[in-house]
């Protein structure tokens, strides 16, 4: 009786829970997917002020200084600064202390295209925060540093390659007067 009961439970579970493989029945080819989407009007954009266009009162322009600062790159799903990148940060910190101490520094965190969700934005921000902490440890003024994350929305490279994705996982430097 015990074995009958056991086998009946197993049978019941098989019948009502389906097999263990939860592969979905996806109907991507349904007629719905062929529904024509109405053509919308052309993209509206407006020109926004570019920081690079500003000229400082000093001998070196903001854009000249910015071009000397090297972006910091990160591994997939990571926000710690690799030993390879620590030299970049040290060099950046030296430039900031020597020539850019009168400016505010905006750190822009970025991610690759794998995800457009909040987590990706947070990952970008933690990258910016890691660079901020490293710069402050090297003597930069924390009160002059702000941070922002653009998630995956500010790529410098759009090819579908690993090399390209690694270029997008970065923190950029922007100097503000």
């Amino acid at each position: 009786m015990k074995s009958i009961l056991l086998s009946s439970v197993v049978t019941a579970l098989l019948v009502f829970s389906g097999c263990s493989d939860k592969s979905p029945k996806v109907d991507d080819t349904s007629s719905a997917s062929s529904t024509a989407t109405q053509e919308v009007e052309a993209v509206k954009t407006e020109t926004i002020a570019s920081d690079n266009g500003m000229i400082s009162s000093g001998s070196e322009s903001i854009s000249d200084l910015e071009s000397k600062l090297t972006s910091v790159y990160f591994a997939f799903d990571k926000f710690n600064i690799s030993s390879q990148m620590k030299n970049n940060v040290s060099a950046d910190a030296a430039i900031i202390k020597a020539n850019a101490s009168s400016y505010s520094l905006k750190l822009e965190g970025n991610c690759d295209e794998w995800g457009s969700d909040e987590y990706n934005f947070a990952l970008g921000l933690k990258r910016a925060d890691a660079v901020k902490k490293a710069l402050v440890a090297e003597g930069a003024d924390a009160s002059k540093i702000t941070m922002v994350s653009y998630g995956e929305s500010n790529p410098t490279c759009s090819s579908k390659t690993q090399d390209c994705w690694s270029k997008n996982r970065r923190v950029d430097f922007k100097l503000l007067p």
Partner: protein, 416 residues
Amino acid sequence: MKALFTLLFIISLSFANDATIEVIKKVESLPSLAVEESSTSYDDTFKLKFFKSFIADLNVISIFNVDRHYRKTDYDANDVIVENKDMKYVLRYQVFEDDSGYFNAKMKLIKESQELMNKNYRIKKKDFYMFISHAMAYDINEFMGEPSVEWMKRKVIFSRVVAPKKSELVIADYTLSYQFVVVSGGFNVFPKWANKAQNKFYYTSFDGAKPTLKKVDIKTGKTKSIISSDGMMICSDVSDDGDKLLLTMAPEGQPDIYLYDVKSKKHSRVTKYGGIDVNGQFIDDKNIVFISNRLGYPNVFSKELANNNVEQMVYYGKSNAACSAHNEYIVYKARESSNAFSKNTFNLHLISTKTDFIRRLTASGINEFPRFSKDGNAILFIKNYKAQSSIGIIRLNHNKNYLFPLKYGKVQSMDW
């Protein structure tokens, strides 16, 4: 033997209402439905466009095996078209322009030469035809006594990235056929409806010195700034009554979840972990689920608002970076392969907090941003596959996914 059947019956009852179990209604078992067109106004291109939209809606309600042949007949003809004689149901409709230039539609549902129901529709502009199509499908679903598809009439708001750091906010119907750009220029993301009526919405603006949460009243067109934060500012969820918001902010470079009171304009910190806490979603007045990397990778956790007890909710998936909750159900995005950049990378899964079942909801591409419908019967999501961005809809009880592609740009985020 009697005991066996009793046992089977009890088990079947216990699983009957669990959405994590795949319920496969075979297409053959659904009643057949043919659609006959009798329109008198408008050109053939438009007539076909409306027909396609209507067929898509009838497919999405998932209660008929819909015949997709485009056949014409007289609206008042006594008999159905010969080819449709064997169909269980025939739906005949007509669209026409009246003397005032309004767009009109009328339809009748026929079964065995008997008219079961009929209904008329009228709207000012022909451009809004898809809303009539959705309403017609909604009414047929209601008439057939099926669970409501109220979500079909709701609007979708999404942000579309058109260039690096440039986006626009778009309001659309659930199929994206109708699109209205409501905010353009600059970089604006994470739109979120502010109330059930869908006449106000929040979004994050990057145009100021700090990311700022803004609120737009669609009727008046007025925009006001709500709150700013250095680093990050996202409205992750709005309570059912619209009085409370779950925000992700990072005033000290530390992304955490905050509870914002719309009336008092005060906020309090809900999570205090030193890593990443984002994507807070109300389960009810007292509990939330959210995404955290406190185990070293992103995963779904729950928490009571009043205390610091955190519970892991998902034990499957290597990287679960987004979620949406409805009662005991949680839908989340998971990276399944060990190779981060292999194909088939991100899929949506559904779990119940009351059982151990996991149901995979998607099969290919990058599937993200899941959002439950208000009644929990459907899930809207973003699919990016082969350079095509689409909005998808999953009918949980019918085990079907439908995709509605975006003409250009990439969907960054959306709300329903």
